[in-house]
Amino acid sequence: MTANPHLDATVVETRRLDLLRRIADSGGAISPVAEPQAKHGYQYVAPAGDVANDLAVLARQNYLEARFFDKVSLCPKCDGCHLNVREICPSCRSAHLASEGLFHHFRCGYVGIPPEFTPEADGGYRCPKCNHTMHHLGTEYDRLGKAFVCRGCGLVSETPPVEAICLSCGARTPAENLVSTVAFSYLITSRGAEAVRRGRLFGDDDEPVRVADAAVYRRTVILEFLLHQMKRLLQLNEPFSVMLVRWAPGETAAHDGGEPAKWLTRLKGCLRDVDLIGQLADVLYVAVLPHARSRDAETLRRRIETELGPRSPLSLSVVEIKERKDLAGVLAGLAGRGEPE
């Protein structure tokens, strides 16, 4: 890391703003273009930096809207996209398959692959079973659908399995076991256009009261509420507790953990109307529970945990605030963690 994180942040911000401006200038959209050398087969045309990451960050901050562009299959072993996908013989796993319509001779009922039938000088074929020549497709013989004949072992199969061989690492993977990633194209949003017009990305002060698409208050708002609650405790002797909610998708929940917004909405469904929830840091949220003693808060916590189920990526803890240093302790404990983007 370089010495001055502030300078770095500025550089990154400028770069992202440049990218945003570039998108706005070129019609408000950016799509990936195929590039064999790129890691996942697609890349975005832009001057510098980790464009894909910048775009993803900008999309997360609502400057851009991500739209599905294409799915890229990847080798599960080396994450490479250079795959040779082909049908293989289900028996000997050779890729040396020929797709042929089986010949079916009506006269004797013989069914065989075309090479078994000897071509005749007059354009017909000689049937290996009854030794008659067949001339007319449709009245004397027929081609039966598409079948794959293995040149290695002779197996005839109708739907051979598909396998991918990785050109980078040589791993063989059945098609259904390939992993995949999605390539997005991005559209500029009104917020993005506004940022370009103003010449800077939005800071904390510019943010609305709630965090985008999750119904939680953003940091400054929830801190304000906390202080207010603190005052009520000290002056009116109104007790209150806080519940700390940490977004911690584990190894197992990573796949279906989904958006934090989804889980936060579920969590919010378990709270009372008078409870408030807001974002303290990147992966840390706090719920303010007025008039709740520690026992009430603990009951609530347990009820929420049952409600969300064992796969919940949210870890919860509750503290009753009794005096000023309690709240300070809670907030201080957070300081080191969850550096916001």
Binding site: P90, F106, G109, V111, P128, K129, L144, G145, S157, P161
Partner: protein, 442 residues
């Protein structure tokens, strides 16, 4: 004739049994033709084999029902189960599951869908997936949806072309292979002269109604009991299409089925012509769904009978040349001639009896005849029950109805025979036009 019947009835009566020995010579001279046609011949043809099988089973069970080999752990040969069907969505799922879960690991299943209009293919794929549990494990189950209707023979040929097994099972979509059957099915192949092995066809839906119960009794006699004896003296003439396993190399060398019928009988005959033996395995049980209504049963029987005539009279008539394909085949030819003649002689016999005795003697004639048949049946059903555990005990009383059932089934049979012999409606509705026009056999 009248004298014979009196004597015969008295012979049935235990009180006058002692008189039987004195009556016997007189009986022989007084009613010779009837005696032979109604008692001696049926006993020799039908009851005696059953009794012999039973005696053998009592003395040495392994002779009739060989136990599975306690063989050294050699690799199980690959068995391909080939099924062709059209609009079989109701049963194809359980058929696939049954075959793949039958306790034989080295088995592949091939289903050729003959251009169904229902969702057979989707159901088959789902069933396959439910058993193999993996989308790319297409090696064990392969499904070929045919883009055009080809008839059963060609559809089976597609399946045979796709099959890789050392042994190929020709299977019906409405039948289910019983757990453990395949191991028993392969046993007779230790004899290199055996080209195909018939399974023991049992009726899956026997409790549906009277008709299916009667069919269970019939299958126990025809497909189970009769085959014990036939296979032992090498006169088995057919491996039923509901369950037969063949050496793959033979089927491939023959180029599969011939067009038109998709008939098990045709393939069996071709095997016999190549001097392969056909065998039977009682413990290779295949459960089949039999027709449940009169209409469907008659249609099935007419189809079978027409196929017999087409194949015997038109395509493989050289099987009747005595000794041409070996002794056993000549026996089969004679056996078939007898079988075709039986309904006709029955009718003639009945008319003759009526003519001899007038109407007042008719009830007696018919009644006697009936009791003779029931007695024969009782012997056979007891043997079948002891040797092969079929039919169910509750179906035993049906032997009183059984003679009527057989007589009633002769109606579609006779109709099929005559229309086939005079080539009325010779074309089969289940063979597509474009194939029918190219078939050279008839």
């Amino acid at each position: 004739m009248n004298g014979f019947l009196h004597y015969f009835l008295s012979a049935l009566d235990p009180m006058s049994n002692l008189g039987f020995s004195r009556a016997f010579p007189k009986l022989m001279t007084s009613a010779l033709p009837s005696w032979w046609f109604e008692v001696v011949l049926p006993v020799a043809l039908v009851v005696l084999p059953a009794v012999i099988v039973w005696l053998a089973y009592v003395v040495k069970p392994a002779l009739v029902r060989p136990p599975p080999l306690a063989r050294p752990r050699q690799a199980e040969p690959l068995v391909s189960v080939v099924t062709a069907g059209r609009n079989e969505s109701a049963t194809i799922g359980q058929c696939i599951r049954g075959a793949l879960l039958c306790g034989y690991s080295n088995l592949e299943f091939i289903f050729v869908d003959d251009n169904s209009t229902d969702d057979s293919v989707a159901i088959a794929r789902r069933a396959a997936l439910s058993v193999t549990r993996s989308r790319h494990d297409t090696e064990r189950v392969r499904i070929f949806p045919s883009p055009r209707r080809n008839g059963k023979a060609s559809s089976l040929n597609i399946g045979i072309r796709m099959a890789r097994g050392e042994f190929i099972v020709i299977h019906d979509a409405d039948s289910i292979i019983q757990y453990g059957a395949v191991q028993h099915w392969l046993l007779p192949f230790t004899d290199p002269r055996v080209g195909g092995v018939a399974a023991n066809i049992r009726v899956d839906n026997s409790t549906v109604n009277l008709l299916t119960r009667l069919q269970e009794v019939e299958y126990a006699m025809k497909f189970t009991l009769a085959k014990f004896f036939q296979s032992k003296i090498s006169v088995m003439d057919i491996i039923s299409g509901m369950g037969g396993i063949f050496r793959g190399e033979i089927i491939r060398r023959l180029g599969g089925f011939d067009t038109g019928l998709g008939d098990d009988r045709d393939l069996s005959t071709m095997l016999l012509k190549q001097r392969f033996k056909l065998a039977f395995s009682n413990d290779a049980v295949v459960w089949t769904t039999v027709p449940e209504t009169r209409y469907h049963l008659w249609r099935q029987r007419m189809r079978w009978r027409r196929n017999i005539i087409k194949i015997r009279i038109s395509k493989h008539r050289d099987m009747f040349l005595l000794g041409r394909y070996g002794f056993a085949n000549a026996v089969i030819a004679m056996q078939l001639a007898v079988r075709l003649l039986i309904p006709v002689t029955l009718l003639i016999g009945l008319f003759w009896a009526f003519y001899q005795h007038g109407l007042e003697g008719a009830p007696e004639v018919v009644l006697t005849f009936y009791w003779i048949l029931v007695m024969f049946l009782l012997v056979r059903i007891l043997v079948a029950r002891d040797v092969a555990s079929t039919p169910k005990l509750v179906n035993f009383p049906l032997i009183f109805l059984y003679p009527f059932y057989v007589l009633w089934l002769e109606m579609p049979n006779i109709y099929a025979e005559w229309s086939e012999l005079f080539r009325i409606g010779a074309k089969h509705h289940y063979v597509p036009d474009h194939i029918w026009e190219e078939i050279p056999w008839w």
